[in-house]
């Protein structure tokens, strides 16, 4: 029982990170109907920007306390957002109106470019940092098993919930969010209402990239090691989460992320760590067979 509770805590905090990345996939899919394969690498860039900020703060002797973590988070969000904006501007926008596969291929190219760029700029070796927020509280301390809820896990959950709350407000309550949904539902009509659809799409990439940067920062702080290749697996998992939740659905992305995190964690805990990715991707296969629109997705047919 205690063991299962520990897995639940671990699974939720991992799932939150997947959820944050999955939101970026699902937003971009919703608005321009493409899978942004470079999004996992945007997450990786976010982790590296966070790493550089941590190293700079440590060498300045001020890497300590919540203020420092907030600074790292904000720097990573701003810089990574710029990357997200640039990728859309140079690799996807020129291909708008081209055949459907073109931006997809361009996205795969962009993914390779980002990986190689970080490999060359930062080196191929694994980058470790010291634990920024060690310790935690002991939830259950029995003879058999000690259940720990680390401060880092609390931070992940608190930051993710906070960021998602702001994000939900932005999409559902502000004119910008309304414009984004309008572009998603009928881009031509949105421009007939005076909406600058190119700008709205750019902002979607900026928001998606900053959420991925939050995920990257939290990943770095939690696991302490990153390399230029982390974006691939995290990206594929988050994409799986987005499909599981129903691609195009924002709550679905978060739900899918949580489920993938939980499945992976519980599988590792009770069956075998080696096969945890197989477990996660098997879920994707099953969902695609039995529920092609995902858990919260909607069927494409619509009353016109």
């Amino acid at each position: 029982m205690a063991y299962a509770l520990q897995q639940l805590i671990n699974g939720i905090s991992l799932g939150m990170i997947y959820g944050l990345i999955a939101v970026g996939y699902t937003m971009v899919y919703g608005i321009i109907g493409m899978i942004n394969f470079a999004h996992g690498d945007i997450f990786m860039v976010g982790a590296f920007v966070a790493l550089i900020s941590v190293v700079m703060l440590v060498s300045g002797g001020i890497m300590d306390g919540p203020a420092a973590i907030l600074i790292v988070l904000l720097v990573s969000m701003c810089v990574t957002a710029l990357y997200g904006w640039t990728v859309e501007r140079i690799a996807y926008r020129p291909l708008r109106g081209s055949f459907r596969l073109a931006p997809l291929i361009s996205a795969i190219g962009m993914s390779i470019v980002l990986q190689n760029y970080v490999q060359v700029a930062q080196g191929a070796r694994v980058k470790p940092i010291d634990a920024v927020l060690p310790g935690g509280i002991t939830v259950i301390d029995s003879e058999a098993f000690i259940v720990q809820f680390s401060y880092m896990q609390m931070l992940i959950i608190a930051v993710t919930l906070g960021v998602l709350a702001i994000f939900t407000w932005l999409v559902t309550r502000t004119p910008l969010g309304r414009a984004m949904r309008a572009c998603e539902q009928d881009r031509r009509m949105a421009s007939l209402l005076g909406i600058d659809t190119d700008r709205t799409i750019s902002l979607t990439f900026v928001i998606g990239a900053s959420l991925a940067a939050v995920a990257g920062t939290l990943y770095l702080l939690r696991y302490g090691v990153i390399d230029f290749y982390i974006g691939f697996l995290a990206g594929v998992k988050a994409f799986t989460a987005a499909v599981l939740g129903g691609i195009g659905s924002l709550p679905g992305a978060v739900l899918g992320g949580l489920l993938i995190g939980l499945i992976e964690t519980f599988w590792s805990a009770y069956f075998s760590v080696q096969y945890k990715d197989v477990a996660a991707f098997s879920i994707l296969v099953l969902v695609l067979i039995f529920m092609p629109t995902g858990l919260l997705g909607r069927a494409e047919v619509e009353k016109v």
Binding site: P175, R181, A182, Q185, M189, L192, L193, D196, E302
Partner: protein
């Protein structure tokens, strides 16, 4: 004669290899209701969309309030004081009626509240459906919503594409009465595209007949109604 609000000067346009409009010239003066009638596929909807820059005119000029808008991007044209109720209504299906209406005022930069009152006074049905999703409305309600959404930007020129299509006669009469009202009381200028030539020509001050992408006839609505060639082609048993 006053300067026209909208002027198309030998405009050609189309999609891909299809040339839908051939050297079309029309004018719309402030305060007028002008209608464009023609058969299915004559290029009526393309003409309205070309005014909005989507598709862009291949030749000729589109001038709005003395300003050449031929090369302007669509979203900038739509901020100049034009609004369109497009073919197929294009209501946002997963937004509430209220949100659809607010989308109409999104870039206008004025307070939407008085306009909301005005639209709800014009179409009380929309008020009742305020929180309902656009995609779940009936055809007539969607048409009212599309018109209401266009009015939310406080346009000086309203481009209306087949407001009567697929609607029950009673609702069509309601909608046409609303258009006449807006024109007489608010001085709203309207360019109306219709297949229902009888209704359109009765409502409009002037009309144009579009055949295969060319203007073949033009004149006051009642004169066109009386012309044998118009009666045969658009008011006879064919429709």
């Amino acid at each position: 004669m006053t300067a026209p609000l909208l002027e198309l000067d030998t405009v050609s346009s189309g999609y891909g290899a299809v040339q839908a409009l051939r050297e079309v010239s029309i004018t719309v003066a402030p305060g007028e209701i002008v209608t464009l009638i023609g058969a299915n596929g004559a290029g009526k909807s393309t003409l309205l969309m070309t005014i909005c820059g989507d598709p862009r005119a291949r030749n000729g000029r589109v001038v709005f309030e003395g300003r050449d808008i031929t090369q302007m991007p669509t979203h900038q044209i739509m901020r100049l004081g034009l609004a369109q109720v497009p073919e197929g209504r294009r209501v946002f299906p997963r937004m509430s009626v209220m949100e659809n209406l607010l989308m109409g005022a999104q870039v206008a930069g004025h307070d939407p509240a008085p306009l909301l009152d005005q639209v709800f006074a014009l179409f009380p049905r929309l008020k009742e459906r305020e929180t309902q999703r656009g995609g779940t409305l009936s055809g007539g309600e969607q048409q009212m919503l599309a018109i209401g959404r266009a009015l939310m930007s406080k346009p000086r020129l309203l481009l209306l594409d087949e407001p009567s299509l697929g609607l029950a006669p009673l609702i069509v009469r309601q909608i046409f009465a609303a258009i006449r009202d807006l024109n007489e009381k608010e001085g709203l200028t309207v360019l109306l595209v219709e297949q229902n030539a009888n209704l359109a020509l009765r409502l409009a001050h002037r009309g144009y007949v579009l055949v295969n992408g060319r203007i073949t006839l033009a004149g006051p609505g009642r004169d066109l109604l009386a012309m044998p060639e118009v009666r045969d082609a658009y008011l006879g048993g064919g429709h």
